[in-house]
Amino acid sequence: MARMGRLASGGLALVLAGGALALVRRHRHRPPTAAPDPRPGRWQVVTVAGRPEEVLPPGRWPEPLRRLDGAVELSARPAPGGRGTELAARPLSGEPTLPGLAAHLVGDDPGRFLRQALREAKQLVETGEVLRADRSRLDRPGTAG
C-alpha cells in the first residue's frame, strides 16, 4: 500500500491514498526511484530498510522531516524484492515562499536540503541515530592544539 502524509497548518493531517495506483494517478508520475534530481519540486526518494509503517508511522512524521511542517509532502510505499520502503518527499507545489521556520531550514537549495533530510530520516530508522562527523578543532573551543 502507499500512504501519503501532508502537513496542514497547525498540525498533522495524514491522507491515506487507496494504493499505489491512486498515488500515481494523482501525481501523473510515480516518485522517481533513481538518483535525485536537483530541480526543486521533484520527488526525492530514498529506500529505507524497514516496513512503511515503521518508516512513516501514521500521524507522526520521522525526524528530521517533522521540521518541514507545511513545506513538503511525503509518500511511503513498499520497495520491491524486500528492499524495504521507498520514502519520497517533495516541496509542496504552488508555494514558492515557504513559511517561517521551514523557509529558514530549506535555505536557497531546497532539493539538496530535502535530500539530506531524507538521508537522515533513513539513518534514524536503520541505525537508530544520525551519524555525526568528528568535530574539527574550530568546533571545539578550548581544546588542546
Partner: protein
C-alpha cells in the same frame, strides 16, 4: 594527542590535535597500537584529492586497545585488543545486510559524502578529507570508531599486532579478489602487483585451492616474498613477456582468474578523466583482459583507478569475460581471516617491512611511496 597530519602536497608532520570524542552512541575510542601506510593514501599525500585540508589526519588500517565505549556498544569492552575494518559501515542498511559493507548507505556524514564521484554514496573510510566523510585517520594516538560493534573485531590472543593489523584492509581486499574471481581448485590465477594486497590475493587464491598462482611485478624483492611467504610463482615483467608467459603456464588457455592489484598509478589519475582532464592508462588491467582465458573473470582491486580510457572492451565481449571489482567488505571476512591467522594459515607480518614510531611517519611514507629499501608497508606505533 599526537597525529600525523597532512600539511600540503608531499608534506606530513606530527602535530598536537584534539583527542577524539564519542559522537554517537555506537562509537568507541581506540588507542592505536599499529597503523599502516596504504597505496590508497598516496593520491591524498600528493595533494591530488579535492577537499583534503591541511591538518587532516591520514591512515585507515589500524589495530589498538579499546579505551572508551559509547552506551550502545555491546560487543566490546575497555581493554579489548581490536583490529578495525578500514571501511565504515552501519551493518543495518540493505547493502550491509547483503554483506556489501563497502556499499553501505550510512557510512559517511554530510551531503558532500552523499554525492560523490560515482553517483551514489558508498561506505565511509578513516583518514579521508573531512569534507568527504568526517572521520579522522588512524596515524594518531587515538581514533574514534563509529558503528563499533560492526567494524571492530577482537584479536585472538595468539595473533601478533604485526600480523593482525593487516586484517584491517589488505587481507580482506585480497580475500575479496579471490572470492570475486570465484577461485576454485584447479584454477590458474594471475595477480598483477606484489604489494600487500597482491600478495594476500595470491595467498587467498592458494587457500581456496588454486592449482597455480602467478604474481606479476617488477620488484625482485617483492617477488621473492611471493615465492617464500605465499608459495606463488613470480613473473617479472621487466624481463619476461607477460601474456606469453601466462599462456604457456596455463596450458595455452590463459589464467582462469586475473586480478589487478596494482593500486593507484604513480601518475595523476584518481580524478583525471573528468571533463577537460586526462584519463589514465591502466597497463595492468589491459594485460589482464588480454591474458584472461575465454569465459574467465577479471577482478579490479586497485583503488584510485579513476577514469580509464582506450580500455579493450571488445575483449570482454568477444571472450565472454566477467569483469568485477570492489572495495573490501571486511566486516564479512575479518573474523574468518583472524581465525586463519590464529591457525597460522595466513601470515602477513613479513609485509611490515618498516616498523617506525609515529614521529617518523613522514619518512615512512617516503619509503613506502618510493618503494625504497624494499619497503612493502610501513607500520607506525604511536
Amino acid at each position: 594527542m599526537r597525529a600525523l597530519c597532512w600539511e600540503g602536497a608531499d608534506t606530513l608532520a606530527v602535530r598536537q590535535v584534539p583527542d577524539p570524542e564519542l559522537r554517537n552512541a555506537q562509537d568507541m575510542i581506540v588507542r592505536v597500537r599499529r597503523s599502516v601506510t596504504c597505496g590508497a593514501d598516496l593520491p591524498l599525500l600528493a595533494g591530488r584529492v579535492p577537499h583534503l585540508a591541511a591538518g587532516d589526519v591520514l591512515g585507515h588500517e589500524f589495530l589498538g586497545d579499546v579505551v572508551e565505549v559509547g552506551p550502545e556498544v555491546r560487543r566490546h569492552r575497555v581493554a579489548d585488543r581490536v583490529v578495525v575494518c578500514a571501511g565504515i559501515a552501519c551493518g543495518a542498511c540493505w547493502f550491509c545486510r547483503q554483506g556489501l559493507f563497502a556499499c553501505c548507505d550510512n557510512g559517511t556524514t554530510g551531503t558532500a559524502g552523499a554525492e560523490p564521484e560515482w553517483g551514489q554514496p558508498t561506505g565511509g573510510c578513516y583518514g579521508r578529507p573531512a569534507l568527504l566523510g568526517g572521520f579522522a585517520g588512524s596515524h594518531a594516538e587515538f581514533v574514534r570508531v563509529p558503528y563499533a560493534d560492526v567494524g571492530a573485531f577482537t584479536v585472538p590472543d595468539g595473533v601478533s599486532d604485526d600480523r593482525a593489523v593487516f586484517a584491517s584492509d589488505a587481507a580482506p581486499t585480497g580475500w575479496m579478489g579471490a572470492e570475486l574471481g570465484e577461485v576454485s581448485p584447479g584454477d590458474v590465477v594471475a595477480v598483477w602487483g606484489a604489494g600487500a594486497v597482491g600478495q594476500l590475493t595470491a595467498a587467498a587464491a592458494r587457500l581456496r585451492g588454486a592449482d597455480r598462482v602467478i604474481v606479476v611485478d617488477e620488484h625482485d624483492e617483492r617477488l621473492r616474498m611471493v615465492e617464500r611467504h605465499v608459495g606463488a610463482e613470480p613473473l617479472n615483467y621487466r624481463y619476461l613477456d607477460v601474456p606469453a608467459e601466462l599462456r604457456e603456464r596455463s596450458g595455452g588457455r590463459g589464467p582462469d582468474v586475473c586480478v589487478e592489484a596494482v593500486g593507484p598509478a604513480a601518475s595523476p589519475g584518481l580524478f583525471a578523466g573528468r571533463p577537460g582532464r586526462r584519463a589514465d592508462g591502466s597497463p595492468a588491467l589491459r594485460e589482464a583482459v588480454h591474458s584472461c582465458r575465454k569465459g574467465g573473470t577479471v577482478v579490479l582491486l586497485g583503488t584510485g583507478t579513476g577514469f580509464v580510457d582506450t580500455f579493450p572492451l571488445g575483449a570482454v565481449l568477444d571472450k565472454g569475460l566477467t569483469v568485477r571489482g570492489g572495495r573490501q567488505h571486511g566486516q564479512r571476512w575479518i573474523p574468518m581471516l583472524l581465525e586463519r591467522m590464529a591457525r597460522d594459515e595466513l601470515r602477513t607480518e613479513h609485509l611490515a617491512t618498516h616498523r617506525l614510531p609515529l614521529e617518523r611517519g613522514a619518512e615512512g611514507y617516503a619509503l613506502f611511496r618510493d618503494r625504497a629499501d624494499g619497503c612493502v608497508r610501513a607500520v607506525f606505533s604511536p
